[in-house]
């Protein structure tokens, strides 16, 4: 056993109230008449129901499938009939309803046939992760991140097992370590095997001596396994804080522990991993602390997921308070339940039922006096006071510069504030607002891309249409040209007009030039003809042709002589006109 050499910045030491609930052993809670199993008990996509209303389900039967590899499935925690799949009030700070599968139990607690894998070392990593994924295992420390997804990472050097449980009142992990150390260590071995870590560090706060002892006994005596204790300080159990305590290294901003070769798992998760693999039991129950002065019995119960809180409160002897306030989680990070009928879910580590004196309502906030206590106490080394001003004025750029994203919402700043300013509430609200804005921006960017893509498409289509039209026109013209008689002419109509014009012009020219010449040449030709006729006549007389021929020739000679006489006396008419 070692003591940690490092610590983190800030932190507080509030009253622990652990002894309220850690003196009795873990008790198995009875089966409630009704189980309400929300489809969203983890961070990631909502599970999809795979049973229908009226169906009989066995204990351990999968009733909702994980949406994908980043989701988690849900199993029936006892046998009975599915009576409804509907929106019910769930354990959520919003007080909103969400879809739940409601099972009316039959008290038989008949389990579905399952078989574990005691020889899990024969399976490969993918198969082991698949079993964990199908068993619906999520981080039981608080955030409910699906374990199979968290373990699906490479280059892990160190596996850290978180047995810190730093929040006041909660003793679920403490009792689990005291009573089930051997199983937890078996789970750790499986986890170590899956991520391929070289070493395992189990970190436990020094306010749990019994847990430290039993874990120390169960742990293999190998140099690869280390049990490290450290002084009690809130919030040592925060993943990044614990890594700093145990290794002295800090997770980079916006990064994951996997970036520095570390993966963290809660002791409860390690136990659930062992049960899922070796015993084939999916995640259907968990250890939850019931504490607070409003309960007559305080202690830890192993409860079936989906058990209504009110049923368990009755079991633990709850006295209704004047101002009833039920808190899920601890006093630092928990939230007030909207109603006692909400069910226990995978992440419910504690139900705190305080009486009015135990956990008074917060005092009204007073102005900030700039004392700087919050900056001294902040475990993430932020400047809560600056963040407060910027949150109030919604100055998101400055909030980003002051690394609001690194805030783990541990509530230390609000706890130390002498003016009772609910700082962490401002930060939660601002973080939400910033997340919303980022989403909006992403959506706007997507819309812009889609709009621009559409514009381009429309332009391209218009161009294509234009191109087809041009091509069609060219084709039509080519076809017309081919079938035309005037193949070499550009435009047949125009060509015809041209031709007509040319003809007219030619005629004009001819008539102009040739009017006189015509008359002379006509006379000449008449004379030649006359001569020819006369010689023919002489030839005919000489040859003693028939009288008919000679008469005809004489007549044509007479006609020609007459024409020649006319031509010689009459001047050409055109010349006179011009």
């Amino acid at each position: 056993m070692n003591t940690a050499k490092h610590t983190f910045h800030g932190g507080i030491r509030p009253l622990e109230h652990k002894e309220d609930s850690n003196t009795t052993p873990i008790e198995i809670a009875p089966i409630p008449p009704m189980l309400v199993l929300p489809l969203q008990q983890h961070s990631g996509p909502t599970a999809k129901p795979c049973v229908t209303e009226g169906e009989y389900v066995y204990k351990g039967q999968m009733i909702a499938n994980a949406a994908d590899a980043s989701g988690a499935s849900i199993h029936a925690s006892s046998s009975g009939y599915v009576v409804a799949i509907e929106a019910r009030l769930v354990a959520h700070p919003s007080g909103m309803a969400d879809t739940c599968i409601v099972i009316e139990t039959d008290g038989l607690d008949a389990a579905i046939e399952t078989s574990g894998h005691p020889n899990w070392r024969n399976l490969n990593r993918v198969e082991l992760l698949d079993i964990l994924h199908r068993s619906g295992i999520v981080g039981l420390g608080g955030a409910g991140f699906p374990t199979a997804r968290k373990l699906n990472t490479d280059s892990i050097d160190t596996l850290i097992i978180n047995g810190t449980e730093c929040e006041p009142y909660i003793t679920a992990d403490d009792l689990c370590m005291r009573e089930r150390a051997a199983d937890i260590i078996r789970g750790c071995e499986i986890l170590k095997y899956i991520v391929g870590a070289n070493s395992v560090i189990v970190g436990i706060e020094d306010n749990k001596p019994e847990a430290i002892e039993s874990m120390g006994k169960a742990m293999p005596s190998s140099p690869d396994w280390k049990l490290v204790t450290f002084p009690t300080k809130y919030p040592s159990g925060g993943e990044k804080q614990l890594i700093e305590i145990l290794t002295g290294r800090q997770v980079p901003r916006g990064g994951l522990p996997a970036n520095i070769g570390i993966v963290c798992q809660n002791v409860g998760t390690a136990f659930a991993v062992k049960e899922a693999l070796e015993d084939g039991k999916p995640l259907i129950s968990r250890i939850t602390t019931f504490t607070g002065q409003a309960l007559s019995r305080r202690g830890n119960l192993e409860v079936r997921l989906g058990t209504p809180v009110s049923y368990l409160l009755d079991y633990m002897g709850y006295t209704e308070q004047k101002v009833p306030r039920l808190i899920m989680g601890g006093p630092m990070m928990g939230f007030a339940l909207p109603d006692a009928t909400v069910p226990i879910v995978k992440t419910t580590n504690c139900i705190l039922a305080p009486d009015t004196n135990e956990l008074p309502l917060p005092k009204p906030a007073q102005p900030c006096i700039r004392c700087g206590f919050c900056a001294e106490a902040c475990p993430a080394s932020l400047l809560p006071q600056q963040l407060f001003w910027h949150s109030k004025s919604s100055n998101f750029d400055q909030l980003d510069k002051h690394a609001l994203d690194d805030c783990i919402e541990c509530g230390v700043c609000s706890y130390v504030c002498p003016s009772s300013i609910p700082l962490v509430q401002y930060f939660r609200a601002s973080k939400h607002e910033m997340r919303m804005r980022r989403n909006e921006q992403q959506q706007a960017d997507k819309a812009r891309e889609r709009f621009e893509a559409r514009q381009q498409r429309l332009e391209r289509e218009a161009l294509e249409r234009e191109a087809t039209r041009a091509a069609r026109k060219a084709a039509a013209k080519a076809k017309a040209a081919e079938s035309s008689r005037f193949a070499d002419e550009a435009d047949p109509v125009q060509a015809a007009i041209e031709r007509a014009k040319a003809k007219k012009a030619r005629l004009m020219q001819q008539s102009q030039q040739g009017a006189q010449m015509n008359a002379e040449s006509a006379l000449d030709s008449l004379k030649t003809k006359l001569a020819a006729q006369q010689s023919t006549l002489q030839q005919a007389e000489a040859d003693e042709k028939s009288e008919k021929i000679t008469t005809a020739l004489q007549a044509s000679i007479r006609r020609l002589e007459q024409q020649i006489a006319e031509s010689e006396t009459k001047p050409p008419s055109k010349d006179v006109e011009e």
Partner: protein, 200 residues
């Protein structure tokens, strides 16, 4: 004054030094203006990045980018109802102007909506598909159409062309996944105020 005296003269030297420096810097600037020339109009890009990209045309421009171009050339910044006061403030910050109230002529700020087609009534005319500026409606002629809700910007442009009026604009409500903490309200009292409230 000889040539040597002229060059040794203090005044001449000063003038020459500054002329040389001026020339050098001139060359440097000239080179820089060519080498580091900024293509396009970055202010339009910046304005466009602040606009909500609803592409609704309520500003009387056919989309957010044309409006960004118009703002860059001097148009009023208060014509975007989907962006609302928030966008006006961010634009005013960017352009160093006084924020103005939203111009009511172009519409009022409304909660975000998403189009929904009552599929049983859809006749498959594709008119809404042609109207959608972000291609968020799926369907084909004479087949039922539907809106891809994640891509819908809630611009309203599909409602008008629908001949059978089967498109509803549904307001986006907060669900358990989009819910977030709200900032504490009215914390500016001092403790004694609360006491007097109780006494009263």
């Amino acid at each position: 004054m000889t040539m040597a005296e002229f060059f040794l003269n203090d005044l001449t030297q000063t003038v020459l030094v500054f002329l040389t420096l001026g020339g050098l810097f001139g060359l440097l600037l000239g080179y820089a203006s060519i080498r580091f020339k900024v293509e396009g109009d970055p202010i339009v890009e910046q304005i466009n990045a602040l606009l909500p990209q609803t592409q609704c045309g309520q500003c009387s421009h056919p989309g957010c980018r044309p409006y960004a171009e118009a703002i860059a050339s001097g148009e009023a910044i208060n014509k975007c109802p989907p962006g609302g006061e928030d966008t006006i403030h961010r634009l005013a910050d960017l352009l160093g102007m006084e924020p103005q109230p939203l111009d009511g002529e172009h519409g009022i700020e409304k909660p975000k909506t998403v189009a929904f087609i009552r599929e049983a009534e859809c006749i498959g005319c594709t008119k809404c598909i042609q109207a959608c500026p972000v291609d968020a409606i799926l369907g084909a002629a004479k087949l039922m159409h539907t809106v891809i809700a994640q891509e819908c910007t809630g611009c309203d442009l599909c409602v008008e062309p629908c001949p059978v009026d089967c498109i509803d604009m549904i307001e986006v409500t907060t669900n358990i996944k989009t819910w977030g903490w709200e900032a504490p309200e009215n914390d500016d009292i001092i403790a004694t105020d609360r006491m007097s409230d109780k006494a009263a």
